[in-house]
């Protein structure tokens, strides 16, 4: 008997369209669609992709609970033994959707689930405990490498075979610990590790410390009337024609542009460089992403003292965390030097 597999993909991989179709509602189709072909090839005769659920990334992200319910209702009649989602690479909304679908279907139907993401995908930290997330490259170039690993892991789960460590199986740690017996006691292993560390040699820890990179909330703004407020965005708003060529995805830079002489932004002077959402609405009225109009009016009314004369902008679309950190730190230094009191950061 062949196991039954349902595959979840987004509107882009289903060939329905890009951002202009991101509001595509959940639907299910018999058999494989798009990357499902590669998945079926890797699964071989042991398992069959009986159906593919497709949902637009925008629709999912804006209606998470409703979308999950709709997807569950579509998947359930197909009686899957396994659900595979993605891979989503470093696409944030797709990763969130893939992880969310895996977590919910796994819980409600009691079946194993597997997805694939780049380690920096925000879906990883959200769902790593609820599903198996195979480590992938940051873009669809990694599809050929990722799918066979996902398929093999899925088959092992279906056949209830013992799994090796996350590194051996190719998935990102779920935070589950198993007891194992080793021939040498902990003290010996720890001493050996320490000696290696002191000699500057490579060693592998048996218990990696979790890295909770949290920043404590800053003290609130005390005196709004005398405050200078700055605007920052990851929504890609920039002067018309994107003079500094901020990339539409995986941004390597940010821009700093004057709004000193602007009462509002308009389609005449500004646009978005972002390649991860339908730009129509932001291009028509950039204030929808960067609210210069409202803030300028409030400044004139004396609600606060000053709208800082420069806004900082980048494209948050598969942007490496290391880049985003650097942008943030550099922007913060400039804001500090100029006596800004508080920051409004908008994201799409």
């Amino acid at each position: 008997m062949s196991f039954r597999v349902v595959h979840y993909i987004n509107q882009f991989f289903a060939g329905i369209g890009g951002e202009e179709k991101a509001d595509h509602k959940p639907e299910i189709r018999e058999g494989v669609v798009g990357p499902g072909q590669a998945l079926q090839a890797s699964l071989g005769d042991d398992a069959t992709v009986v159906a593919t659920v497709i949902c637009g990334d925008g629709y999912f992200a804006e209606n998470i609970d409703k979308a999950l319910e709709e997807i569950l209702a579509l998947v359930t009649p197909y009686k899957p033994d396994l659900l595979v989602a993605g891979p989503a690479f470093n696409a944030g909304r797709y990763g969130t959707a893939s992880g969310g679908v895996c977590a919910m279907v796994g819980e409600k139907l009691g079946i194993p689930t597997v997805t694939g993401m780049h380690p920096e995908n925000p879906g990883v930290d959200m769902y790593r405990k609820n599903t198996y997330i195979v480590e992938t490259a940051d873009s669809a170039r990694g599809l050929r490498k990722a799918v066979p690993v996902m398929a093999e892991l899925g088959l092992k789960l279906l056949k209830k075979e013992a799994l090796g460590t996350p590194a051996e199986e190719g998935y990102l740690e779920k935070g589950v610990r198993h007891n194992v017996f080793l021939s040498r006691i902990g003290a010996e292993r720890a001493a050996e590790m320490l000696a290696k560390k002191l000699r500057g040699e490579e060693f592998v820890t048996e218990y990696p410390m979790p890295s909770f990179d949290r920043v404590a909330p800053a003290a609130p703004l005390k005196d709004l009337k005398n405050a200078t407020i700055a605007l920052v965005t990851s929504g890609g708003i920039c002067p018309k024609h994107n003079p500094d060529h901020i990339e539409a995805s995986s941004a390597s830079k940010y821009g700093a542009y004057s709004i000193e002489d602007f009462d509002k932004l308009s389609c005449e002077d500004s646009e978005t460089a972002h390649g991860g959402y339908d730009p129509t609405y932001a291009n028509d009225d950039p204030n929808r992403v960067l609210p210069v109009d409202v803030l300028r009016d409030m400044e004139k009314q004396g609600v606060f003292k000053k709208l800082y004369g420069t806004y900082f902008t980048t494209v948050g679309n598969g942007t490496p965390v290391a880049n985003a950190k650097r942008f943030g730190a550099e922007i913060a230094k400039k804001l500090k030097a100029d006596g800004v009191d508080a920051v409004i950061l908008t994201s799409t």
Binding site: P220, A324, V343
Partner: protein, 77 residues
């Protein structure tokens, strides 16, 4: 970016549509926005109505910036 700016000691409010991502990333003051392609607007409304939606979100943002928080906080209506 939110976190690195806050690390310098500024209160930062994150106006964003996908609140779960903001929570995962570590923003401390979060305002849920309208939709991904128009977080502070709504093209289905008239320009005047849209302005009011945007003004409401900005007013909430300023209020959040003046609110003492000890942990990640989502400011709903």
């Amino acid at each position: 970016m939110v976190k690195e700016i806050e690390r310098e000691g500024f209160p930062v409010v994150h106006v964003c549509t996908i609140v779960p991502i903001s929570l995962t990333v570590g923003a401390n003051r979060i305002i849920p926005a309208v939709a991904i392609p128009y977080p502070l607007g709504d093209p289905a409304k008239t320009p005047a109505e849209e302005y009011e939606i945007r003004k409401h979100l900005v007013e909430k943002s300023l209020k959040a910036l003046q609110t003492e928080v000890s942990e990640q906080t989502v400011f709903n209506d």
